[in-house]
């Protein structure tokens, strides 16, 4: 607080508690109930206040958290977890295997818990063998057991058992938020702020600081201003446009990298045909030219991904090849060679395939002359950079004689035209993902066409078989090989063009706390890894 207004009602230069780190974000948690929460801000708090059996590290690997040692039976269905000694809940009760078994059972019993319930779908039975041993029996062996346990936070049985599964469980606000993690809940004002204090008795990672305050601000621009004026010490999000100016501030450091939950922007081609069109909901009005691989390849050659990243994201993205993001570590196939940006090759592909501009209006027609290569191009109106990307694509593809009719749609309207009705030509949308590649791979399987998860209507028996194979392959190396092969098929068949994988930008003040983790693969300064490690600068 250098500049201060000295007027009667100002309390200028109010002393800041030295050990309090103030974090600014533009969102806020939806609820403190780990079962019903949806927003990532809520999960940020859960990670700080609760422990789970395993933790997702910033390098993308999965490491034991509450678990000390674990083993799995020969057939992969019985998992035995031995818990760490000394874990305590914030109210002083010890955390035992009974709490773990209770929590996993609880998530399984509540079918309308959005995420947690899904993670338990293969759990057959859970039992506490003794005070520190938990046995989980699966209905079938799965290759990604550990990633199912990342977000199943361990709840105190002595509190949650009074809220039995059903409406009592979903309506419980959990304002006290008793967990066993490195921070304790002290005060919560919904939509305004959250105060957490350090749990100095944590068995493994007691924080150095005393308190965290998360404050919600109106927009990302205001966040940048709050960091600049020193009203907060760290911001979890910011607009790409502020990067240059913050770089010049000597007291601020920027951190850029893959987000904790890796995300992908995808350009979706409607490739449904009369065989694959869903019987119930399908309208399948896609442009016939998009069924031709030559056309999709030409569009790929005409897409200058680097320019898109430069202009629309101000350089903060990496060019993409498939639905598996570069932030997914070993699952990302880094050996693939993308289609090079080469408008001439694109023109040649279209010429050779018979798509010529015979009436000289600058837009090519189908080989039989029936229609123009003019595509409806939709995007959701809640994606900030999308209009710029659409404009750029319209220019780039216009150069090879392909016309786009651009239109932004409300996400709800977009869902209606998208899938499973397939009433579009091209949509630009996106996904963000769990650490496990299973879901992202399922998006292109034939089984998902009628459910609405498949956005393209792409159907390839070879791909479907590989999908089934990776879902049951327990050897990580072998599974990785299959997953890589599936990405090669995606790129070869081009149901999507992937313009980029987004990057996360965060920033912190260098004059208040030291020890932020800035060199990991993933960027998450709000992760317990940073917040338990930082120290106040004297």
């Amino acid at each position: 607080m250098k500049r201060c207004l000295i007027i009667g009602l100002m309390l200028c230069g109010m002393a800041l508690a030295q050990g309090t780190v103030r974090i600014g974000w533009a969102g806020s948690p939806d609820t403190l109930n780990p079962g019903t929460a949806v927003l990532s801000e809520a999960f940020t708090l859960f990670d700080l206040v609760y422990d789970s059996l395993f933790n997702l590290e910033l390098d993308g690997s999965i490491q034991p958290e509450l678990v000390d040692t674990y083993e799995v039976s020969e057939d992969g269905t019985v998992w035995t977890f031995k818990l760490h000694e000394g874990a305590m809940f914030h109210d002083g009760e010890p955390l035992t295997a009974a709490d773990v078994a209770f929590s996993l059972d609880y998530y399984k019993a509540n079918e309308d818990f959005p995420f947690a319930n899904g993670y338990t779908s293969y759990f057959d039975s859970i039992e506490a063998a003794d005070d520190s041993t938990v046995l989980v029996t699966l209905s079938e062996a799965i290759p990604n057991m550990l990633s199912q346990l990342l977000y199943l936070y361990i709840l105190p049985e002595h509190i949650w058992s009074s809220y039995p599964a059903g409406s009592a469980a979903t309506e419980f606000e959990n304002l006290e938020m008793i967990g066993s993690g490195p921070f304790k809940m002290t005060e919560y004002k919904q939509g305004e702020y959250v105060r957490l204090s350090a749990n100095k008795d944590h068995y493994a990672k007691a924080p150095n600081i005393d308190e965290i305050v998360f404050q919600t601000f109106g927009s990302q621009d205001v966040l940048v201003q709050a960091l600049r004026t020193g009203q907060v010490d760290m911001i979890t999000e910011m607009p790409n446009t502020a990067v240059v100016s913050l770089r010049n501030d000597p007291n601020i450091e920027l951190v850029i990298g893959a987000p904790l939950s890796p995300s992908v922007r995808d350009i979706i081609f409607n490739v449904t045909n009369s065989d694959t069109c869903p019987a119930d909901d399908g309208i399948c009005s896609g442009h016939p030219a998009l069924l031709d691989l030559n056309v999709r390849q030409a569009l790929a050659h005409a897409t200058d991904k680097l320019q898109i990243i430069d202009v629309a994201l101000l350089g903060l993205g990496t060019p993409g090849t498939g639905l598996i993001m570069d932030g997914m570590g070993e699952w990302f196939n880094s050996s693939l060679e993308d289609y090079v940006y080469d408008p001439e090759a694109a023109n040649k592909l279209l010429d050779d395939a018979g798509y010529l501009d015979s009436n000289g209006d600058g837009v090519r027609e189908m080989p039989d002359g029936s229609r123009d290569l003019s595509f409806r191009f939709y995007w959701p109106n809640d994606v900030i950079e999308a209009p710029r990307v659409a404009e750029l694509l319209s220019q780039m593809w216009g150069d090879i004689g392909v016309k786009l009719e651009l239109q932004a749609l409300d996400p709800d309207a977009l869902t209606s035209v998208c899938c499973p009705s397939f009433d579009f030509d091209i949509i630009m949308w996106g996904w963000s993902s769990d650490p496990d590649p299973g879901f992202m791979l399922s998006v292109l399987t034939s089984d998902e066409i009628p459910t609405g998860t498949s956005e393209t209507g792409y159907s390839n028996p070879e791909y479907d078989e590989l999908y089934a194979a990776q879902a049951t392959e327990l050897d990580p190396a072998k599974r990785q090989e299959i997953v890589w092969q599936m990405q090669a098929i995606m790129l070869r068949d081009l149901p999507y063009i992937i313009p980029y994988y987004q990057q996360q930008v965060q920033a912190f003040r260098t004059d208040r706390f030291s020890g932020w983790i800035t060199d990991a693969t993933k960027v998450a300064l709000e992760d317990p890894s940073s917040l338990t490690q930082i120290e106040a600068i004297q």
């Binding site: 250098k2 500049r3 201060c4 207004l5 009667g8 009602l9 100002m10 309390l11 200028c12 109010m14 508690a17 309090t20 103030r22 939806d30 609820t31 109930n33 019903t36 949806v38 079918e111 309308d112 959005p114 995420f115 319930n117 899904g118 993670y119 409406s167 979903t170 309506e171 606000e173 005060e187 004002k189 919904q190 939509g191 305004e192 702020y193 105060r195 308190e211 305050v213 404050q215 919600t216 601000f217 109106g218 621009d221 205001v222 201003q225 709050a226 004026t229 009203q231 409300d410 996400p411 709800d412 309207a413 869902t415 209606s416 035209v417 996904w431 963000s432 769990d434 992202m440 459910t451």
Partner: protein
């Protein structure tokens, strides 16, 4: 007199009943909120379970499965009219239950009362300042008509009146935080542990910029109306008489001009309440002021119907009531209304 009040109240009740109906249909046109849960981790069965929890699996109203214009269909006419979202809405309202927020799963009534006071504080401070300053400016400008003072007040008022509220707010926010060190958001310093007067001072610091924005945006209108009304009044014969009697300028303005010019101001203040809310939505969003406006803004983005319905009902009732009060105030300000 009693008859007049009863008639006014009757109309007010009718208006509120109409708002109740409109309220229901208005929000359902936006579509199904569970559609926003497009997330790889969600299974179809889970989404279905969530829809059941909030009653979204039922048809909106007899004959209409949904009111989303793209998906609306007439195939649900056979359903029991009492097993619809509309029936549930009405019966809950009769019980005084505003429902549970889809987003935070908290009771709407609790959510709204928590934030109502903050908005009243902001609107109250902003409006009172705007009214007082606007009236004084208008009076002075009319008295000094066609002088530099009048023209600068006029141009100034027109300028701030035509500025977009959110834009003015953002400018003030950046200016105030940069040069005056004022806070960028919130209602008070979090965890400051302040009490009593010091805490009030802290809240005042946070309230300063939003109130300033509010005042600037509304000053123009009050000033312009005051000025033109007073100009009218000043040309009346009784003002000439007053001058001839040797009354001071202050007395003429206070006792003769102001009293007569109050009628249009009362009308505008009451009518403005609706716009005040629109202003509050923008200002609270810019300044992260935890009030009703911010709640509405957030709820729209999340399609949180119960919150929107509750907030709109609350606002509609207050605007209608404000107008009833304005009508009744006339009878005291202007004896002619009483006779009519």
């Amino acid at each position: 007199m009693t008859k007049l009040i009863l008639r006014k109240l009757g109309w007010a009740l009718l208006t509120i009943a109409f708002v109740l109906l409109l309220n229901f249909f208005l929000f359902r046109v936006m579509g199904d909120p569970t559609r926003l849960l497009k997330d790889p981790r969600l299974s179809q069965a889970t989404i279905e379970a969530i829809r059941v929890r909030f009653g979204l699996d039922k048809p909106v109203i007899n004959c209409f499965e949904t009111l989303n214009p793209i998906k609306a269909s007439l195939n649900a006419c056979g359903v029991n009219p009492f097993n619809t979202q509309f029936a549930a809405y009405l019966s809950n309202l009769l019980k005084g239950d505003l429902g549970v927020s889809f987003h935070s799963q908290r009771p709407v009534a609790e959510l709204l009362t928590e934030r109502l006071w903050n908005t009243l504080l902001l609107i109250g401070a902003g409006q009172i300042l705007a009214i007082i300053i606007g009236i004084i400016l208008g009076l002075v400008a009319a008295w000094k008509a066609r002088t530099v003072l009048d023209y600068s007040a006029l141009v100034g008022s027109l300028t701030v009146w035509s500025l977009p509220t959110f834009w003015l707010g953002i400018l003030l926010l950046f200016w105030g935080s940069n040069y005056l060190g004022l806070p960028l958001g919130g209602k008070e310093t979090i965890g400051s542990g302040l009490t009593g007067l010091k805490r009030l001072g802290d809240i005042g610091t946070h309230l300063l910029l939003p109130t300033l924005t509010f005042t600037l945006v509304f000053i123009g209108e009050y000033m312009l109306i005051m000025r033109s009304t007073v100009l009218d009044v000043l040309s009346e014969d009784y003002i000439l008489t007053a001058k001839a009697k040797g009354l001071s300028t202050f007395q003429i303005l206070k006792d003769h001009a102001l009293r007569n010019a109050m009628l249009p101001i009362v009308t505008i203040v009451a009518l403005n309440l609706g716009f005040t809310v629109a202003g509050a939505i923008q200002i609270e969003t810019v300044f992260s002021w935890p009030g009703l406006g911010l709640t509405i803004f957030e709820a729209v983005g999340r399609r949180d119907y119960p919150v929107l319905q509750g907030a709109f009902l609350l606002l509609a009732v207050s605007v209608v009531l404000a107008n009833v009060i304005a009508d009744l105030l006339y009878t005291f300000l202007d004896p002619r209304v009483r006779l009519a």
